[in-house]
Amino acid sequence: MTNNSKIHKTDFLQGNIACAEGAIMAGCKFFAGYPITPASEIAHHLSKRMFEVDGTFIQTEDEIAAVANIIGASWGGAKSMTATSGPGISLMQENIGLAVATETPCVIINVQRGAPSTGSPSVHLQGDILQSKFGSQGDYQVIALAPASPQEMFDFTIKAFNLAEQFRTPVFILSDSLVGHMREKVAFPLQEELVISERKKLDHYQGIHQKIFLDEDVAPMPIFGKGLKANITGSTHKEDGFRNVSDPKIMDHAIKKLTNKILKHKKEIIEINEYETDDAEVVIFSYGLTSRAVLETVRKARRSGIKVGSFRPITVWPFPEEEVEKLSRKVKIIIVCENNLGQLFPFVKSAACEHCKVISLPPKILGTLYDPEEIFEKAKEVI
């Protein structure tokens, strides 16, 4: 091999296209979606590319069908994905709950837009952070990652597939219209750098009471069509898949096992980017696109000798409670910057307990970029 082949291939890509290419690199073989601004470019791109990689693309009759299709395809053994925006997620919620309950790996891209309701399709807002965690009925956990650039749309989509496969669960990408539509340089990983996870599969039929669900360390998945006699239901069930909808003890067991499957592995799942937090007095908590304005603020503050740092969860869900708690013990103030009226603010406040002060600082006008100056001024004011 020559040295040349070690150079990363790069391209100038739109965030949504980077996401689609990331999906292909992760091994996605099935995409279902319904047109919606600002996510449609993902479908446009995959309507061509899926067939080139021996995969399937289908434009469904609505978003309810889109998510149902990817769940069905996942049981057929395909890595699958859908892409939409907040209104589509609202429609998908019941079936997302089914994906959680039936432990179905799949990836759901949410390119967030102005909300509530029809809102403003091309305005970027981080308005669906709580929706992705609490939108379906009951207690459950999801995994959600918040990218801030086309490069991260690519990288996090691969990571999302890997997490979905490892934990047999739906994984969200919480992008927004600006990250989805901006164009930047994207570097593709070399083959040897690429880490791709595959789901643990049941390899042979083990009798009608075979354990295929509710293992905190993830049960093997019986893929359809292989004589494994999969017994799958969204109703409350036991390890073998048999329904029991009357015994509260079985329901209690199911809810706790499903929840613990994610929470027990928080350390493996959660990823945080910290910048200049070691000696910081003020730390700014932000995620997704907002974190880019925050980094600029930190650099500006450091140049003026003010000790400001940035704490950015890559993983928005499960919420990095312990990491925030640890942070709160060493800083005076946490400023929470999100492009919404403070959706994660109560979680940060609760995790910080009374160790430090926590304040919420939404942008002056929701749906616009933070001016690093306004965050800087706030940091100076509170210090």
Partner: protein
């Protein structure tokens, strides 16, 4: 001496045959028709997957059938089955759904599956009422029926589900009542072999909820006799006026067209095309 007899269809069941449906329910007749059809075709049961939604019909395959069974949300069985069929085109994917499942909450998925001509078989158990939830009016309930949500009589006209399937583009459509169990079995066998989307509507008795509406409470036999008396074959029906057909149930195989391309085959064609363009 006690002799233990096994049901001839026992091998298709996940453990004991243990249906939880009410006495006299039509589900048992339909379940047997499905399994006898598969037995007659001598096909490998492992190559079948069943997808069902919420409602009494959902419990025909789930968890009883000893093969891959996916029991999902109300009305969405077809949408899940579509994803499954696209990912595993060699499997025989059968959807069992109720009339509410099919034509109320899941109406959109139903017509689009017909339009796409995806190779699924859909068996729609039409008991003309919401049974499991307590006897509410359904889109298939006859006009002026007194149900738990239409105490003054229903004021909306019912859907003809088979006609919807035909209009929406399904390429095989048949309707029988549970009284015609043998004909039903034959049509299901045909549907399984049919390459495109096949829709079998079964008018089925719900003696508990619908029996109450028509004054035949808990009387399955009377309901079946009523089906017998009111059924008329599609051939005969074509010669009669709409007045003469009033209160009749038109049964038979309505259409069968194997010429329209099936969706998973179309996708295979697209893959070939995409690949050849890539190589150019």
């Amino acid at each position: 001496m006690e002799t233990k007899m096994n049901h001839p269809l026992q091998k298709y069941f996940r453990g004991a045959i243990n249906y939880t449906t009410c006495p006299g329910c039509g589900n048992g007749i339909i379940s047997q028709a499905i399994l006898w059809a598969i037995e007659e075709l001598a096909m490998d049961f492992n190559k079948f997957a069943f997808v069902s939604g919420i409602g009494c019909s959902g419990w025909i395959p789930s968890p009883s059938y000893n093969t891959d069974v996916l029991h999902v949300t109300h009305g969405r069985a077809i949408a899940f089955a579509t994803g499954l069929k696209l990912a595993t085109p060699d499997m025989k994917v059968i959807v069992t759904a109720g009339d509410g499942d099919t034509s109320a909450i899941g109406g959109n998925h139903f017509i689009h599956a017909c339009r796409r001509n995806i190779g699924l078989t859909m068996i729609c158990v039409n008991n003309q009422i919401y049974g499991m939830t307590g006897g509410q009016v359904a889109p298939s309930t006859p006009y002026d029926s007194k149900t738990t949500t239409t105490p003054y009589g229903s004021i909306e006209r019912p859907f003809d589900l088979s006609q919807i399937a035909i209009s929406a583009g399904a390429t095989m459509v048949a309707r029988w009542t549970t009284f015609q169990a043998r004909q039903l079995r034959k049509s299901i066998a045909k549907a399984i072999l049919h390459p495109g989307f096949s829709f079998i509507e079964v008018i089925s008795q719900c003696p508990v909820q619908y029996g109450k509406v028509i004054g035949k409470r808990n009387d399955a036999v009377d309901m079946l006799m009523d089906y017998k008396n009111r059924s008329i074959s599609i051939k005969k029906a074509r010669e009669l006026s709409s007045d003469e057909l009033k209160n009749k149930i038109i049964v038979g195989e309505f259409i069968e067209n194997k010429e329209i391309p099936e969706l998973t085959q179309e996708i295979k064609r697209l893959r070939k095309e995409a690949l050849s363009r890539c190589q150019k």
